[in-house]
């Protein structure tokens, strides 16, 4: 704790102090974190995910580093003309980024830049992420400085997806970075953003504490893809908070395959009627990894639909945690909410803790949930083998099929193709 307080004072003195409204939010967040500290296993929200290794390590601020285009290339996909924002150890890299001319006054760039230039950020930045209930979000907000900023004005279709890449280098061993993103998709606008967390040092132990705020305006269409591919020795805690307005469509896809301990919270608040929310997730774990997904959807208004499917494939002695909350307020009649969590266990040592949590206070709703934990269907394995497909390949094919069901829900073809490739590559190592 003391080291964070010291780092905060240094940070505040060194550019972390302006503009005043932001300095105030940071200070309030730091105070909050200082009061509550890191969660413990007594905290219901963290019951299955011990954060001791994070709390007990004195992470220092991540150092600047240089990354070549060649080193970054394996993590890029899609088209060269896509807007690309690259952050190296949390710092924006102008050289590696690509910001082409954008339609209709849309802005894609560094958050630090936007803070300096755009007073409108005050209304959103740090307003949505729940600093009061999440110690990690508070810590992120205290050190909030840099990340991606995407602003799509009303009725503008961004066209190409934005790829935001946070890359960590070997110099980041023992350090922490606080990526902070703000995506504003205004009324009747359309945008697709891919958020990637990758590393050049697959064995490095570092800590990424990321927060993303998404504001989706009336009748806006937003696709948000999150690829967590950290080092398998790293710690990753991320929170995505989404605010949706009337008739908007927000679809999320999260892939989690990195991290020694990785947690992602996805909170979606439905602020008006007529909203549609799709949440798809896939986690692929192996070795000693622990991957935790917590989702919460707040049905505060009538006539909204939410559809959630999270799937996991676990190998080795890895663990996965899934908690899916659905809150339906008394006035949220005609809510249609479906939640599914399915887990495929490939080894004896793997373990899943899954918990659907539905709190429904309206009576005219359709809310369903289901969770399964199972093994590969041996009859299906035999079926494939009886067609000439070797046993190992049959298992890989069926495991891939299990995962592919959610990947196929990603709307953008190049993103879907990349996810497909990542899943196949990871499963190739199972045999």
């Amino acid at each position: 704790m003391e080291s964070y307080l010291k780092q905060f004072e240094a940070f505040s003195a060194n550019g972390g102090g302006s503009p005043p409204w932001l300095a105030e939010r940071r200070r309030a967040a730091m105070d909050r974190f200082a009061r509550v500290g890191f969660p413990t296993s007594k905290d219901e929200e963290w019951r299955f995910t011990p954060v001791g290794p994070i709390a007990q390590t004195e992470f220092t601020p991540a150092p600047p580093a240089t990354v070549t285009r060649e080193a970054l290339a394996p993590f890029l996909f899609g088209h060269a003309e896509w807007p690309l924002l690259v952050f190296v150890n949390g710092r924006f890299s102008t050289g590696l980024s690509n910001i082409p001319p954008l339609p209709g006054g849309a802005v894609v760039g560094s958050l630090a830049d936007a803070i300096a230039r755009n007073p409108a950020l005050e209304a959103h930045l740090g307003r949505h992420a729940p600093v009061e209930t999440s110690a990690f979000a508070a810590l992120n907000t205290a050190f909030l400085r840099e990340g991606a900023f995407v602003h799509v004005p009303a009725r503008v279709d961004l066209g190409a997806p934005v790829h935001v890449v946070f890359v960590t280098t070997a110099d980041a061993e023992g350090t922490v970075a606080y990526p902070r993103n703000l995506f504003m998709v205004e009324r009747e606008a359309r945008a697709s953003v891919v958020e990637s967390y990758v590393t050049l040092a697959p064995g490095a132990a570092y800590f990424t504490n990321a927060v993303t705020e998404v504001v989706s305006g009336e009748n806006a269409w937003t696709e948000h893809t999150r690829l967590q591919r950290e080092s398998e020795s790293a710690y990753h805690v991320g929170l995505t908070h989404v605010e949706q307005q009337r008739d908007s469509h927000y679809r999320s896809f999260t892939l989690a395959m990195g991290g020694a301990i990785a947690r992602h919270n996805l909170h979606v608040r439905l602020n008006a009627p007529g909203i549609e929310t799709l949440m798809y997730g896939l986690y692929l774990t192996r070795g000693q990894q622990l991957v935790d997904n917590h989702t919460a959807i707040y049905h505060d208004h009538p006539n909204c639909n939410s559809w959630e499917v999270y799937k996991g494939v676990l190998d080795g002695r890895s663990r996965a945690v899934f908690n899916g909350k659905v809150f339906v307020k008394p006035e949220a009649q005609k809510t249609d909410a479906k939640q599914t969590n399915r887990n495929l266990i490939l080894s004896d040592g793997a373990r899943v803790d899954t918990k659907p949590q539905l709190e429904i206070f309206a009576d005219d709703v359709r809310c369903t949930h289901g969770a399964t934990i199972g093994r590969l269907d041996e009859v299906a394995v035999f079926y494939a083998r009886s067609r000439g497909i070797p046993a190992a390949e049959a298992r890989r094919l069926l495991t891939y099929a299990f995962a592919a069901e959610v990947v196929s829900e990603v709307a953008l073809e190049p993103v879907r193709a990349e996810l497909d490739r990542l899943v196949l590559e990871r499963l190739g190592s199972l045999a």
Partner: protein, 251 residues
Amino acid sequence: MLEIRDLRASAGDTEILKGITLTVNAGEVHAVMGPNGAGKSTLAQVIAGHPSYEVTGGSVTYMGRDLLDMEPEERAQAGVFLAFQYPVEIAGVSNAYFLRAAYNEIRKANGQEELDPIDFLDVLEEKLKLVEWGPEIMSRAVNSGFSGGEKKRNEILQMAVLEPRLAILDETDSGLDIDALRIVAGGVNKLRHPERATIVVTHYQRLLNYIVPDRVHVLAGGRIVRSGGKELALELEARGYEWVEDAAGVA
């Protein structure tokens, strides 16, 4: 082509096949009939190498090789094909991908070049006609959400594409309406060839009106209790299975 001698097999502690002896030559169609629980499906699955059954005795020789010593995929690569009684649904894998993967594995194992998706389409096109299907079926997930008839037709399509030497149809006719039955039987008949053999496992004589067998065997209580020509099927239809069961002393 296939020589089964005194084959015994169990599932768990229960012995199901109690000494089956059967020879099938190239070019022949054999029908294996019998009441429910006789061991017909077990026989089919043991030939294909289903891991749920343990072979406890006897031998199976296929094209001069010890079939029981081969993995299920090796059997398939050597030309053995089982049309499942209950084809398995595989969500997330397209029919086209699955069938091409199987096709290429078999080609690879036989020292032939693998086909890319475009060339494979040509192979498919012709085989789809055999089961009176359009190409749309290939982009659907394997058997996923298929009707019972569609699943059986898909088995025949797979058989047509993989061109086995020895095809075993396990109750492919059960649950089929007359149109589906005609299509399935038509597909099988078009694949009849002097170098191929077929074993048709069925409970009902109806299918044998369409696929005329060279030999008919009646299985009861895990043994073949009677063998004969195609007229045996008609006799069974008229007199019922009790007739052979009684004659063989099966309770």
